[in-house]
């Protein structure tokens, strides 16, 4: 049963970790794009 538990934990854990990684990278990049866009808008206002 230990082998089966190990296999399922690894498979489901890897799927879960990859899912979490997709979410966290998307959040980080969205924040970066928004920051650049906000900087751009502020620059235009200053001009």
């Amino acid at each position: 049963m230990g082998y089966v538990a190990a296999a399922y934990v690894i498979v489901l854990g890897s799927i879960g970790l990859y899912w979490w990684r997709l979410y966290s990278r998307t959040d980080r990049l969205k924040a970066e794009v928004l920051r650049h866009t906000a900087d751009d808008a502020a620059g235009i206002r200053e001009q």
């Binding site: 082998y3 296999a7 890897s14 799927i15 970066e32 794009v33 751009d40």
Partner: protein, 247 residues
């Protein structure tokens, strides 16, 4: 309804809440369907499928075979999108090929990890240089190389062109992996699900668990590919903003 059934239903609602709060549109529906079928497949793996001759180790079959199917599907799609890119030079095709390769490597890694975990109690060894295992390892190395190649090249067009060539050439190993159990005498068993004369003689419960896992993994795969493709577009947008300094 027993404790296990309640646990699976609670698990579904917890994951569904995460999806509903984070995803929109088609992604949301694919993810919800994927979670529902995944919960049913996990239930059927442990409570519907018989363990046949190998004892409980047989249950690894329901994650090992679908992972292999997804890896093959992913690399086939890399092949298709790479050809499309080489013909029409659309960066969107390159982005799709990259997403399929990344998710394919994840599932190919799971094949190479679950295989030895299954092999140890059944064959008595973790690994042997048998044709199926060796060609599968080569397949994994090819697509890890594909991802490494992409990360080393900075020019967008050059990266897409080189990766597309590797995506086409690398796919040649997939039929070799599939046919290896027929071409060479191997420790790995031959086809047990689909035989040349039709469906195999697996018990009904095993078919239910296997096909539920196949459908669940396929839905999870398409969800990941869609998210990864969207992430790639976001990455391109962020890179162009970094270059122009937000202008």
């Amino acid at each position: 309804m027993g404790v296990y059934e309640i646990l699976f239903i609670v698990g579904f609602f917890v994951l569904a809440w995460v999806v509903v709060s984070r995803d929109e549109g088609v992604d949301r529906w694919i993810a919800l369907a994927g979670i529902a079928v995944l919960m049913f497949s996990l239930y059927s793996d442990f409570f519907i499928a018989p363990t046949a001759r190998q004892g409980v180790a047989q249950r690894i079959f329901y994650v090992h075979v679908p992972s292999a199917w997804i890896a093959f599907l992913a690399f086939f799609l890399v092949f298709v999108f790479s050809i499309r890119y080489l013909i029409w030079r659309q960066l969107a095709d390159d982005g799709r090929a990259y997403a399929c390769a990344e998710v394919g490597v994840l599932f190919c890694t799971l094949v190479l990890v679950t295989g030895p975990i299954w092999g140890r109690p059944v064959w008595g060894v973790w690994w042997t240089w048998d044709a199926r295992l060796t060609t599968s390892l080569i397949l994994w190395l090819i697509y890890v190389g594909y991802l490494m190649l992409r990360s080393y090249l900075t020019d967008r067009e050059q990266r897409a062109r080189f990766a597309a060539v590797l995506g086409v050439v690398g796919f040649l190993d997939v039929p070799i992996v599939h046919m290896s159990v027929k071409w060479w005498r191997t420790l790995h068993p031959g086809p047990v699900v689909m035989r040349s004369g039709g469906m195999s003689e697996l018990p009904f419960g095993m078919h239910v668990a296997l096909w539920a896992s196949m459908v669940a993994f396929t839905l999870v795969f398409f969800y990941f590919v869609r998210r990864c493709t969207a992430l790639g577009r976001l990455l391109d947008q962020a890179e162009s903003l970094r270059v122009t300094g937000g202008r």
